[in-house]
């Protein structure tokens, strides 16, 4: 069986892929389907869903189109989730590889720094960082990455510790390759798969963290975010619950989709490894 077919043979992977594809389609088509500013006032305020078919999901407290906000919010969530996860994985694997490969004092120092970051709850760290520096999309990405790079760092280090004793590493040493070249050309690529397996969890966590930050008013106010939409809707929770429920459902489905697809990938690779 080809890896793709094997991947698609697990039901959770199929469900996850469908959800993720839908999300990506939403993010990509947002500007085509809803050109212009999604925060523009489009109709009467607090229009309930399914009343006016030009505004299928109704409008919020200022009269903004909830569907347009939902599509543009998908962009923000996905962009922040992917960027933060990429940053966390990049930093984490570099730190882990250096620590594992160099050993000794470098290892000690890097791992104690990792410990220090791990002792602070990652959400608090993000919260503190954003409130000091000020909210904007880039800052939110950095803030989330700040709390999530430690996991990949530890996994990468553990992998590197076992790989560096392999024969091909010894032979690379013997032919006089620079230690950094060995670390990043020979060791890191082989240590990556288990690190990448964590990516789905990290992306899901990053999307949730972004939503939580926006909910607390620490997101980028010039962009639509699902967390911000939920926070806006909270003030009218009893009279217009759809304003919180709609983005809430979108958030749940996204996180679920990312997680299921990630599980599928892990399972597929595990099966392949087990067979080989």
């Amino acid at each position: 069986m080809s890896p793709v077919r094997r991947f698609l043979s697990t039901p959770e992977a199929v469900a996850g892929t469908i959800l993720l594809t839908a999300l990506i389609a939403m993010a990509l088509s947002a500007s085509l389907l809803f050109p212009g500013d999604p925060q523009a006032i489009a109709g009467p305020a607090l229009l309930p869903p399914f009343q006016d078919w030009s505004l299928p999901l109704g409008t919020d407290r200022l009269g903004r189109d909830v569907l347009a906000e939902l599509f543009h919010g998908a962009r923000t969530s996905l962009a922040v989730g992917l960027a933060a996860a990429a940053a966390a994985l990049a930093v984490g694997s570099v730190v882990g590889t250096l620590a594992g490969f160099a050993g000794g004092l470098v290892d000690e120092v890097l791992m104690r720094i990792t410990d220090a970051f791990q002792t602070v709850p990652s959400f608090l760290l993000a919260l503190a960082f954003v409130s000091v520096v000020g909210p904007s999309l880039g800052i939110v990405v950095i803030a989330i990455a700040l709390g999530t790079w430690t996991g990949p760092a530890r996994v990468a280090r553990a992998e590197v510790l076992s790989i560096r004793e392999r024969d091909y590493v010894a032979s690379a040493r013997a032919i006089g390759m620079h230690p950094l070249a060995i670390a990043f050309r020979e060791v890191l690529p082989n240590a990556l798969p288990p690190v990448l397996a964590m990516s789905s969890v990290i992306v899901a966590a990053a999307i949730l963290t972004e939503a939580a930050l926006s909910f607390l008013g620490l997101g980028d106010p010039n962009r639509v975010t699902w967390g911000g939409m939920i926070a806006e809707g909270r003030a009218v929770l009893r009279t217009a619950p759809f304003l919180s429920i709609v983005p809430g459902i979108a958030l749940v489905l996204t996180v679920l989709g990312v997680y299921l697809a990630g599980e599928g990938i892990v399972e597929t690779t595990a099966v392949r490894r087990g067979l080989s």
Binding site: L62, P221, R238
Partner: protein, 536 residues
């Protein structure tokens, strides 16, 4: 039992309607107040410093006005809109150089010591004038307070000071604190700032951070038979959505200061046993204002400011952001002010075409992306409505080709960014009108105010004619002439737009039917509640 309650309620509702039909200025029930009971209400902030003589703000008054009293309180039907408290009468000299207060006899501090004119003199000279956020302006020329006897205090001013201003300042600025407590040590560090001692109907009980403030009955209060309540508990409920559910669950009996979100009022007014009251805040009008940084060259151009004023749909703001619980503004004095307001000012109707034309005239043509220029917009975070108006203003500005980028801050960072660092182009602020333009309104446009003073002109605006007018009004003693000067002031502000007044709003209380004597003065939520009572 329940049948009895219902019939009793019906009867009460009937008597309330009778009352309303006679156009009484109060909303009380036609019942003799009952003694006893504990009033539990929602508090949404937890001020640390509870000394109203130093921090004259509504958040502090809400709690400490029950403990520490002022010389006089605002009143719907009293002379000059005042009712006596610690002072029984007040009279200004014709030359504007002195004001004589006769004080109430037989008043005791919560620790048993007698209240005398020495306490008034100490509070005025040592606290109101040098330390109080608002008193600094109003009492700046106060030179001495003579105390010929224990019950007379004569305020002496170095320069003529309008008696009208002093009168209007009494309800908010004249909290009297005990001299014998404050004369030792530094006033700002006195422990009584956190556990106030006053003459009011309630004593400070205890404060548990994040949970509650408890006030207990002052059995030695000067008011006959007052207070009626045994205890007041301020339940800290920082989450605005929880106040409504707490009311419905009968955990609290009162949510003042719009603790129940405006969007919920329609629903909650239909809940049996709860009443929605929009009175009792007439003396606490908040103004929704667009603050402008005139250091930006685009905004220093009057045409650009006029264009922004024409781009704002004030009716939409009142209807959508405030759900009708507000009024559109014409200028720096709110429409509900009985003394100073004039409608005879330049107005700016919603007119996007005219706004665009004004901007073209000013020389800021639309670029290829449809934008003329970009601005930083800082909505104040204190109210949901100020934040929402920020969102609306961004859209309104986009319609005339101005790209506004929102910057959100928490309260402390917002105050620093706008009033100290001047790191804003436009800001949305909620200044308070306190019954006289000289108390907290003229400083919004007057020049020469040092940096870092919150809720003052920090936008670098300077208009010599307006400054001269403000200076003249501050030393005009004749009430009619002074009032006319402030009418002219409103005209000039509306014409030159140092800031843009959008709307005026006040608060809403939601209470259980059992709470009596609610909203019976224009500053009810921040008055002493000596006559508030609970029915069974």
């Amino acid at each position: 039992m329940s049948g009895f309650t219902i019939s009793r309620r019906t009867m009460l509702a009937g008597s309330a309607m009778l009352l309303a039909s006679t156009a009484m200025p109060t909303l009380g029930w036609a019942q003799t107040p009952k003694k006893g009971g504990r009033l539990v209400l929602a508090a949404d902030s937890e001020p640390r410093n509870l000394n109203p003589a130093i921090v004259a703000s509504n958040g502090v008054f809400f709690i400490s006005s029950k403990i520490v009293e002022t010389l006089a309180e605002a009143s719907f039907d009293g002379k000059d809109g005042l009712a006596p408290r610690l002072a029984v009468s007040w009279e200004g000299a014709a030359d504007g150089l002195s004001v004589t207060f006769k004080l109430r006899d037989g008043v005791k501090w919560h620790d048993g010591k007698p209240f005398t004119s020495a306490d008034v003199a100490f509070s005025a000279l040592q606290i109101w004038k040098p330390l109080q956020n608002l008193g600094r302006t109003v009492f700046k020329d106060l030179a001495a307070v003579d105390t010929p006897d224990d019950l007379t205090a004569v305020f002496k001013f170095a320069k003529p000071t309008p008696f009208q201003l002093i009168r209007n300042a009494l309800p908010a600025l004249s909290s009297v604190v005990p001299k014998h407590i404050y004369e030792v040590g530094k006033i700002e560090d006195n422990p009584a700032n956190n556990a106030p001692i006053g003459t009011g109907p309630f004593k400070f009980g205890e404060y548990k951070a994040g949970q509650y403030y408890r006030l207990t009955k002052n059995t030695d209060y000067w008011g006959k038979d007052e207070p009626y309540l045994d205890e007041i508990i301020y339940q800290v409920l920082p989450d605005r959505t929880s106040a409504a559910s707490a009311l419905e669950a009968e955990e609290i009996q009162l949510a003042a200061f719009s603790a129940v979100p405006l969007a919920d009022l329609d629903r909650i007014s239909k809940v049996p046993g709860l009443k929605v009251i929009s009175k009792g805040y007439e003396g606490l009008t908040y103004q929704l204002v667009v603050e402008i940084n005139h250091r930006r060259k685009e905004l220093a151009d009057l045409k650009v400011r006029q264009a922004i004023a024409h781009a704002i749909d004030k009716d939409f703001v009142v209807k959508t952001v405030f759900l009708g619980y507000a009024a559109t503004a014409t200028g720096p004095v709110p429409k509900n002010d009985p003394q100073f307001y004039t409608a005879d000012v330049p107005t700016y109707a919603l007119d996007v075409a005219k706004a665009n034309a004004l901007l073209d005239e000013a020389g800021y043509k639309k670029g290829a992306d449809g934008n003329r220029f970009s601005l930083k917009l800082l909505p104040a975070p204190y109210f949901n409505e100020t934040k929402q108006f920020g969102d609306y203003l961004r859209q309104a500005l986009a319609a005339i080709g101005i790209d506004a980028q929102l910057v959100n801050n928490d309260s402390a960072a917002h105050i620093k960014a706008v009033y100290t660092d001047h790191a804003f182009d436009l800001a949305v602020g909620p200044p308070v009108f306190r019954g006289d333009p000289a108390i907290s309104t003229t400083i919004l446009v007057q020049s020469g105010i040092p940096g870092g003073v919150p809720f003052s002109n920090q936008g670098g605006y300077k208009n010599d004619a307006l400054d001269a007018l403000i200076a003249k009004a501050s030393e005009t003693l004749d009430t009619a002439a002074r009032t006319d000067l402030y009418k002219e002031f409103q005209k000039q502000v509306a014409a030159d737009l140092p800031l843009i007044n959008v709307a005026e709003w006040s608060f809403i209380s939601v209470a259980r039917d059992t709470v009596g004597n609610i909203a019976n003065n224009p500053r009810w939520a921040v008055s002493n509640w000596a006559d508030t009572y609970l029915e069974s």
